[in-house]
Symmetry: C2
Subunit: 201 residues, 2 copies
């Protein structure tokens, strides 16, 4: 390929990736909209958790770079285009799901020009590893939106999956407490009050 | 209010705003998903244009701060919770719509703690004014996603609104050319070829 044609083919690769990303709007999560009208999809969920990250930035550790965490959340669910969404309270084969998500990351990010493919993949890998301050904050934020919605809408997925406070402590509390301990301290008593009074506990 | 209770009430205000934002998932745009399955909502559109901004960052003027433009796009459609979406090719009373959007911004951002209410409102005002490099880039990106989808899906909203190339030049070309001229130079010939061969031109 000549240098002259490279910019157009770079742009074509980028736009092909952006067209492919449209499919995330058709990946349904277990959770519903707060008004109960329908299940939430992973694209609108991604938008919502980015807004959570921006609004709740003051709950992050001081070393967290909020815009970098927002970038992670922008990309974090793209792999679901191939792998689907694994409900947090569902019976999921985590090894099989991780393998599917890695294959999806291999395929999807490779649609981009090399430099971006590497940058985006590194950001996704860092999010998945959940070790850096940015990733711990982003992972925490990703876990907060559904319980907040469930509390506002009569229990949501908690009733569907017969969720207990122990499960919430393990699957939500641990990651949320690592990234945004102030939010978990505020949220847990509400979850406890709700699940303690519900038939699902 | 005592200082001691302030952090909890700050968090409560923030979460009330985030719950209210859930309603953006129920605001429907004129455009459809690329697969034609249904109309797109403004929350998933917001996610998609943020991805466009990140992927197409190399099309921005050098002074553009991409993360700041992404923040603008994260917030840009929130006012539609009250004002609804105004289709770009529809017959819209622009003065009335602007008044509705300003009233929506007044109500929604005021749900946040004062510092954030002011920061978010300033960012939204800057986006709407479309004068700074960040806003020109964000506005341009916001105009690109629908034509890219229309080209990939047999015309989409162009057929619905009987859109001509002149209209595209005015309503899409001018803002896109201001923020990302390289994209308009690449996109216009494709739009021209499509509309020139279609019955809608």
């Amino acid at each position: 390929m000549s240098n002259r044609s490279e910019p157009a083919s770079r742009l074509e690769a980028q736009v092909a990736f952006l067209r492919e990303a449209d499919k995330l709007k058709s990946v349904l999560r277990a959770s519903r909209l707060i008004d109960g009208a329908r299940r939430e999809n992973s694209a609108e969920h991604s938008w919502h958790v980015m807004l959570y990250a921006l609004v709740l930035a003051d709950q992050a550790a001081p070393e967290v770079r909020i815009d970098r965490a927002i970038r992670m959340l922008l990309l974090h669910d793209l792999v679901e285009i191939d792998a689907g969404d694994a409900p947090i309270h569902g019976a999921v084969d985590h090894a099989a799901m991780a393998a599917k998500e890695i294959a999806a990351a291999d395929r999807l990010f490779a649609m981009l020009p090399n430099d971006q493919a590497q940058d985006f993949r590194a950001l996704w890998d860092e999010f998945e590893a959940a070790e850096t301050p940015d990733a711990l904050f982003a992972k925490s934020i990703d876990r907060i939106q559904t319980p907040v919605g469930n509390l506002a809408s009569g229990g949501g997925t908690w009733a569907d999956y017969n969720v207990t406070l122990d499960q919430m402590d393990t699957r939500v509390g641990i990651p949320v407490d690592k990234g945004t301990p102030g939010i978990w301290a505020w949220l847990r008593p509400q979850i406890k009050a709700f699940l303690g009074d519900s038939k699902t506990n």
